[in-house]
């Protein structure tokens, strides 16, 4: 009986309908609460917040004023970017970048032939997307394209080949973003396979292989990249027989490739050491030989562990390519350096604008690489999540 009376509607003090939910307390949820909890939760936190806000106030408005508000977007020469000629304060002279964007992209590559560089950029983008998009169709063909077809096609396309009607273009004319990307791509593409081989060599039980790997890695890693570049560029011609020269662009390409391979080797070795010994023993007990054990069992685990290290090396390498400018190769930095001194664009902010453009370019590329590696890490670590 008692149960019935409870579930019935006869009791006046039992509410028949559910009441309207109240809004969450404003001091616990929502933007105000977030601000309270994250920014002003304690005295020291409040002070830090105020200091950071003040620093932002110091930095952000001038940057915006320079880059956007006072910036000049159109113009044909220095007159457009001079305060004394236009009559108002001038920030970034983007007109200079717009005027010289062709030079920054292609260097001195002959204008009628620049479509070839565009095709190359497109081929590079295709290869990169194919390789990096984890769910792309037929990634095995993609790998074959990127590591076999693409290098050969790039070589024919960029240097030219009379037999297929492409005008030869000397590497002396290459420059700008073309060279920056070329040097980085060669460094990245060569460093991973060579780095893996060197890392395996360093852990090998064969004394000659191990010694050779150790010497190579330690010697190359023991000197700065700039030394390797200057050696390749300035010293190499002195060792060659009189009159024999190696292409000026080839020298830094080789230098960067061997340098990055040595660094990559140490990153990969870290991964190899982190794989538990039981994995090796398990592979051996299955009767796998050395190469199968490495390719099927050890390397997939080792490389996943060192993805942050590998991407870190790539980002470093990408920015280090700007060092080739000290040996007279016209990468993006060097094209900006030589364009900014042109009297046609002689204005106070032109140099700063050129450097800002370079910073933007490098930042966009490196930030993209970094985000991509985070995404890959999450995907590959799915099996490790608890």
């Amino acid at each position: 009986m008692a149960v019935q009376s409870l579930s019935g509607s006869s009791l006046a003090y039992v509410q028949a309908r559910q009441s309207e939910p109240l809004p969450p307390p404003s001091l616990m949820r929502g933007p105000i609460a977030w601000i309270r909890q994250s920014l002003f939760s304690s005295v020291s936190n409040t002070i830090l917040t105020l200091v950071v806000l003040y620093l932002l106030y110091l930095v952000v408005p001038p940057v915006l004023r320079f880059a956007i508000v006072d910036a000049v977007w159109t113009g044909a020469d220095r007159a457009a970017c001079r305060e004394d000629m236009v009559g108002h304060p001038v920030g970034a002279c983007w007109a200079f970048v717009v005027d010289r964007i062709g030079y920054f992209t292609y260097g001195a590559y002959p204008v009628p032939e620049r479509w070839r560089v565009n095709v190359w950029f497109a081929m590079l983008a295709l290869g990169v997307v194919w390789m990096l998009w984890l769910r792309a169709p037929r990634r095995d063909i993609g790998a074959a394209y990127f590591f076999v077809v693409f290098p050969v096609a790039s070589f024919i396309l960029l240097t030219g080949w009379g037999a297929v009607g492409l005008e030869p273009v000397s590497t002396a004319f290459w420059g700008g973003i073309l060279v920056t990307l070329l040097v980085s791509v060669i460094g990245i593409v060569f460093s991973l396979p060579f780095g893996i081989l060197l890392a395996l060599g360093r852990r090998s039980k064969l004394p000659v292989v191990r010694l050779a790997s150790v010497i190579f890695i330690e010697v190359i890693r023991g000197v700065p990249l700039i030394t390797v570049l200057i050696m390749a560029n300035t010293m190499l011609p002195l060792f060659l027989p009189a009159g024999v020269t190696v292409d000026r662009l080839l020298r830094p390409l080789v230098g960067v490739a061997i340098f990055s391979a040595a660094y990559m080797a140490e990153v990969v070795r870290g991964g190899l050491q982190a794989v538990p010994k039981g994995q090796y023993e398990g592979a051996m007990s299955l009767g796998l030989g050395y190469w199968r054990m490495m390719v099927l069992i050890v390397l997939p685990q080792a490389l996943r562990i060192v993805i942050p290290g590998i991407v870190n090396t790539f980002i470093g390498l990408f920015k280090d390519t700007s060092l080739v400018y000290v040996i007279g190769v016209f990468d993006l930095m060097k094209t900006i350096e030589s364009a900014r001194i042109d009297p046609i664009w002689a204005a106070p902010t032109v140099s700063n604008t050129g450097y800002a453009f370079a910073a933007l370019f490098y930042f966009v590329c490196c930030f993209g690489m970094s985000r991509y590696s985070l995404m890959v890490e999450r995907k590959l670590a799915a099996g490790q999540k608890r």
């Binding site: 004394d84 292409d247 000026r248 030589s338 364009a339 001194i341 009297p343 140099s351």
Partner: protein
């Protein structure tokens, strides 16, 4: 051919797979024959110096030194475009010339005794007399470098500029304060924003930097030149014919200016009665053949790039944005020291 193979093998040995990017051979001897066979002149150029060698929006080089390369190409081939430029950083310019990578180095290189005697190079001519100068603000009211006592001076670190500055101020018993920066850009920015009273670098550089100032008309270049910087083309030692060719390229450009032979009137001047002009332009004698070219080499050259004065005005003089005065680089009969030995 075996050299080519050897160099390819070496490139392969360096761990290179796409070795086809290539290696080329050039004989250290008989540069002229080699240049003729290649079909173009390989010129060691600056990596960028306002007025002397800068790339335009298409990446084509122009400038005073660049026009000298073009003049040599025009003298040999009759076509000033048959030249390829190898931009060289200051530290590898001599190696590039010694190793035969470039045929001639025209890259605002100061001629000094040690460079001439110990590097295996020759400097057959001086095409531009430069020297270190000062720039100050007009409102400072200074008319001579001698009045710079106690001034703070912006200069670039670790260059001969800094040493010359010390010599000059010590020699004149003047006090000064050096404010040194790593790059030329920083140095000039510091001066422009008022960090120092004066700015010093080579005189040719002062004019291009002044253009970049926030108010160029507020600055003047002082008359004193405190160092000698004779800039000239360099060639490998041991090929006298090639050195002669470079020397007489320069001389012929000067003689053309001296006798009023210009790009515009060179075709009429060939018919001139003046014996000097006749010898210059090959109407009399066969002087071009003595340097391995044809009689009308100077006609081709002047037609291609103009005479010395035209090259100067177009790139760095009144016809350019730099507006550098001729000064020491005026002809000997106009108050300068550019003096060409006669063709006869």
């Amino acid at each position: 051919m075996s050299k080519r193979i050897a160099s390819l093998a070496l490139a392969m040995g360096l761990g290179l797979v796409g070795a086809g990017l290539g290696a080329t051979t050039a004989s250290a001897q008989a540069t002229l024959a080699n240049v003729k066979q290649k079909g173009f002149l390989q010129c060691g150029a600056n990596t960028g110096l306002a007025g002397f060698g800068v790339p335009d929006a298409q990446g084509n080089w122009s400038g005073f030194d660049v026009d000298y390369c073009r003049a040599i190409a025009a003298a040999i081939f009759g076509d000033p475009t048959k030249v390829r430029f190898t931009p060289l950083a200051a530290k590898d310019r001599f190696t590039a010339l010694q190793s035969g990578e470039v045929d001639v180095l025209i890259r605002n290189t100061t001629v000094t005794m040690s460079r001439d005697t110990t590097l295996g190079l020759d400097f057959p001519a001086v095409n531009y007399y430069d020297g270190q100068g000062f720039m100050v603000r007009k409102k400072l009211g200074v008319a001579s470098a001698k009045e710079l006592n106690g001034a703070s001076i912006c200069t670039q670190q670790g260059t001969t500029t800094e040493l010359n500055l010390a010599d000059y101020f010590r020699g004149n018993n003047l006090k000064y304060e050096v404010v040194a920066f790593a790059t030329s850009d920083e140095t000039f920015k510091a001066y422009d924003t008022g960090r120092c009273d004066a700015f010093t670098t080579d005189a040719s550089g002062l004019y291009s930097e002044r253009l970049r100032a926030s108010a160029p008309d507020d600055h003047i270049v002082l008359p004193e030149i405190i160092s000698k910087e004779p800039l000239g083309p360099g060639v490998r030692q041991g090929d006298p014919q090639w050195a002669d060719l470079v020397r007489w390229t320069h001389n012929a450009l000067l003689i053309a200016e001296e006798f009023g032979v210009t790009k515009a009137n060179v075709d009429q001047m060939v018919k001139s009665d003046n014996p000097e002009i006749k010898r210059l332009l090959g109407a009399e004698g066969s002087y071009g053949e003595s340097i391995g070219l044809t009689k009308d080499w100077a006609v081709r050259m002047v037609k291609g790039v103009g005479n010395y004065g035209e090259i100067f005005e177009r790139n760095i003089g009144e016809g350019s944005r730099l507006k550098i005065k001729r000064g020491l680089n005026a002809l000997w009969n106009k108050g300068g020291i550019q003096f060409a030995a006669p063709i006869r």
